[in-house]
């Protein structure tokens, strides 16, 4: 091939790459815009949570399905007692707390045994879903609805599976031990189960607790963190929960229920064998497998989402910690897509195969590299005269400016419908974070996600805990 031919082929390649990046990013944002509009419609037409039916559930408590709250705990010595007290105090007619001590190296178990006056009990495990050995089970003399399961270390999925095995109630709520559940979070999340017997899982909105005042494991005062990284994550969580999940649940394409809070029908989980142990994204994998299981078995089912806040969780306070978390999420998404690749684009799986999973492909496989590549290739191609410079400007608008539109749009939804931001000043701060995150933070996140892809291809299964700064105490 001549020099001119090589140059021509190279320039054609660059132009094609630029076009592909542009189309992928534009498509991604169009999907997000559609989600924002659907979410706005859902919020505008929804019935606000009231005391109507709830008053009757209080009178006829046996009609509310009993729930086992499963809290896997690993090295939670400092906070476990307060967390369990808060869980015991949750507002619900009948709920049991199952704390699974996942082979903690610290004195998590001792703290529990001493603080709740526990004795060794021979609790029967109904289904052994865990891969590790159960070392003992303990009941409290003071709280009959508290069970502690002590087991060998095996990560969160294994600990949750052990807890599911001990649950006797029709519903199980799987949380992180440091999740702060709203006092009426269980009631709100369980309400859809009372209307619809086909429901197998319900997710709820989760918010960032950094900057909030926490006392005895309960949220005392909502606040905003001083650092920018948690503020950016507030915007991300708002986009994920108020826009993405609300819209997906409305279109029956919900594929993710957060590991920090998820309510599931126990019998379905047991039938499916619980969480998978060989993935770092067990929460996404579980819900996708649920869809697969129900559709393969031709059963009618529904997975719902409650847009009201049910749970608060601590987010990484700095980039160190966020890098691991985001890489893990990305790796988990890729592992899930690999496990269930047969569902992608498969009409047999209905909207999940045709809409939800292709959306994850667009969001998690094509999106990050396309956007990052676009930032480099489009301006370069424009400078070399290969592309209309206006296209590079349009790419900037489609990716960055449109990103701001979506984030601020979600904030508008939040303020109009939920109003859980403490003050006008805080609202403005988050608004500014919604704009600023598009200049730097967003791109850093794309880099972390590429790292997640690298870990996926290297089959790296190491798991690093996300460093926590702890809560502000009252």
């Amino acid at each position: 091939m001549s020099w001119a031919g090589t140059i021509y082929a190279l320039s054609t390649g660059i132009v094609w790459i630029a076009f592909t990046c542009f189309v992928v990013v534009a498509l991604r944002n169009l999907v997000a815009l559609a989600q924002l509009l659907i979410a706005a419609w859902v919020f505008l037409t929804r019935v606000k949570p009231g005391d109507g039916a709830r008053d009757l559930w209080h009178r006829y408590a046996d009609l509310a399905l009993p729930i086992s709250v499963i809290a896997p705990a690993f090295n939670e010595q400092l906070s476990i007692v307060q967390s369990v007290k808060a869980l015991l105090a949750l507002e619900y007619p009948e709920h049991e707390i199952i704390v699974v001590n996942d082979g903690s190296k610290d004195d998590t178990l001792g703290e529990l045994l001493r603080s709740f006056d526990m004795y060794e009990a021979q609790a029967t495990q109904i289904a052994a879903l865990q891969h590790t050995k159960i070392l003992g089970t303990y009941r409290s003399r003071r709280y009959p609805n508290l069970l502690v399961v002590d087991k060998e270390n095996g990560r969160k999925a294994d600990a949750a599976n052990a807890g599911i095995g001990f649950a006797r109630t029709p519903l199980v709520c799987i949380i992180d031990a440091d999740s702060i559940i709203e006092p009426d979070g269980l009631l709100r999340a369980a309400e859809p189960f009372m209307y619809d017997d086909r429901l197998i899982a319900v997710g709820g909105a989760i918010r960032i607790a950094n900057g909030c005042t926490i006392k005895d494991g309960s949220l005392q005062k909502i606040g905003i963190a001083k650092e920018m990284v948690p503020r950016f994550q507030i915007v991300e969580y708002l986009r994920a929960f108020l826009m993405n999940r609300v819209a997906n649940a409305h279109t029956n394409t919900l594929t993710l229920i957060s590991g920090a809070f998820g309510l599931f029908r126990r019998s379905t989980l047991v039938e499916m064998g619980g969480y998978r142990h060989d993935t770092v994204g067990e929460d996404l994998e579980l819900v996708v497998r649920m869809h697969r299981f129900m559709r393969d078995n031709r059963r009618e089912y529904r997975i719902a989402f409650v847009p009201d806040i049910v749970c608060w969780t601590e987010a990484p306070a700095a980039l160190q910690g966020l890098d691991n978390q985001r890489a893990r999420w990305q790796q988990g998404a890729l592992e899930t897509l690999q496990h269930h690749r047969g569902m992608i684009g498969n009409p047999r799986y209905g909207r999940i195969g045709l809409l939800a999973l292709p959306q994850i492909v667009l969001e998690d496989i094509l999106g990050p590299p396309a956007e990052l590549l676009g930032y480099l290739v489009l301006p370069a191609a424009a400078l070399l005269g290969l592309l209309d410079p206006m296209m590079a400007v349009a790419f900037f608008f489609v990716s960055v400016v449109f990103g701001c539109v979506l984030s601020v749009g979600t904030l508008v939804l939040e303020e109009q419908q939920l109003k859980r931001t403490p003050s006008a000043r805080d609202l403005l701060r988050i608004g500014m974070a919604a704009v600023v995150e598009n200049f730097g933070y967003r791109q850093i996140n794309l880099w972390y996600r590429l790292n997640g892809m690298r870990r996926f291809f290297r089959k790296d299964s190491t798991w690093a805990a996300v460093p926590r700064a702890g809560f502000t105490s009252a």
């Binding site: 109507g52 060794e120 029967t124 608008f397 303020e415 609202l427």
Partner: protein
């Protein structure tokens, strides 16, 4: 303009529009926070004024108070008042036309608005509210709204007779839901005789089960003969409902069929019988429940173990010493 210019302009317009909306919301919030002290003062004055009027004192009424603020104040006071005071407050509220807005919204075209209005009316439960709720339950075009209205009436002890409730909700042509069960239980103490009459109708077994279950909530000991008869029904679901209703009613005669229920061939009935024994504190059932610890059904065994812990004196169950980690 080129295609890319169109994209840039459209995105910029979207960004501008959403920013203006957001800033307007921030401003609204800011003004609301700035006026909080004044608003709190006004709300306290409204509350004070209503409490004085309820007690029959003379007040210098300020007509400028907005209706919404009055409604909010009354919502706050209402749960604190009982009996005559509550009735007087509701009458005053109706005379002031405080609920006019809520009643107007209850005619809204939007289903969600009508349901939100129902929730307000449920909280008030005044004569005008009950009247409007009955109207909505009878004639609203949305089944969900009719159901919500029924719930609101149920919460205020104002449900129509069960046959009418079921007809208005078009319930008998479908399977009963948990909401239907709650409604039947609400109706049972109001219309105990009509619940028994309902059982004489040609009904699907699923509905018969729920009506029998609701009898337990009727506080009508006259239902015990019906429960006795139903305890021999060939349908295990009905026998389960008998156990639940008997436990709730607490009539001593029920002990006989609860004891029989502990040896029922259907595990679900045995489970319910164990539950009924615990609820009634039936220590006579302890040997039979102890036998059920060896039941072939896992859930029966687990429930039996739990029941024995609850029925036997604490000394009988010796927990092992807690190891100190």
């Amino acid at each position: 303009m080129s295609f890319y210019q169109d994209i840039v302009v459209t995105t910029a317009l979207c960004a501008g529009a959403i920013t203006i909306v957001f800033l307007a919301l921030v401003l609204r919030r800011y003004l609301s926070e700035r006026n909080r002290a004044r608003r709190d003062e006004r709300d306290a004055a409204i509350t004070r004024s209503y409490l004085q009027r309820v007690a029959g004192h003379k007040v210098s009424e300020a007509d400028t108070w907005p209706r919404r603020a009055r409604l909010k104040a009354i919502s706050r006071i209402l749960p604190l008042l009982r009996g005559g005071e509550r009735t007087r407050l509701l009458q005053i509220a109706e005379l002031d036309g405080v609920l006019r807005e809520t009643l107007r919204i209850s005619h809204s075209l939007y289903r969600s608005s009508r349901i939100n209005a129902i929730q307000s009316m449920q909280q008030f439960g005044s004569e005008a509210c009950i009247g409007r709720l009955r109207e909505m339950m009878a004639s609203d075009r949305s089944p969900r709204v009719r159901l919500e209205a029924a719930f609101a009436l149920g919460a205020n002890g104002a449900l129509p007779p069960p046959r009418e409730t079921l007809r208005l909700l078009n319930a008998l042509c479908r399977q009963p839901t948990r909401l239907d069960i709650a409604l039947l239980r609400s109706a049972a103490p109001l219309y105990p005789e009509q619940m028994l009459l309902l059982l004489e109708d040609e009904l699907q077994d699923a509905w018969r089960v729920q009506i029998i279950d609701a009898l337990g909530w009727s506080d009508n000991m006259g239902a015990i003969d019906t429960l006795d008869k139903a305890s021999n029904d060939p349908d295990p679901e009905i026998r389960c409902a008998v156990m639940r209703a008997s436990a709730r009613l607490g009539h001593p005669a029920a002990r006989r069929w609860i004891m029989i229920g502990l040896t029922d061939p259907v595990p679900a009935v045995r489970l319910q019988a164990i539950g009924a024994s615990v609820r009634l504190g039936l220590r006579k059932a302890v040997p039979a429940i102890a036998q059920l610890r060896h039941d072939p059904e896992l859930w029966v065994r687990l429930r039996a173990e739990q029941a024995l812990e609850q029925l036997e004196p604490v000394d009988d169950v010796t927990p092992q010493a807690a190891p100190v980690a």
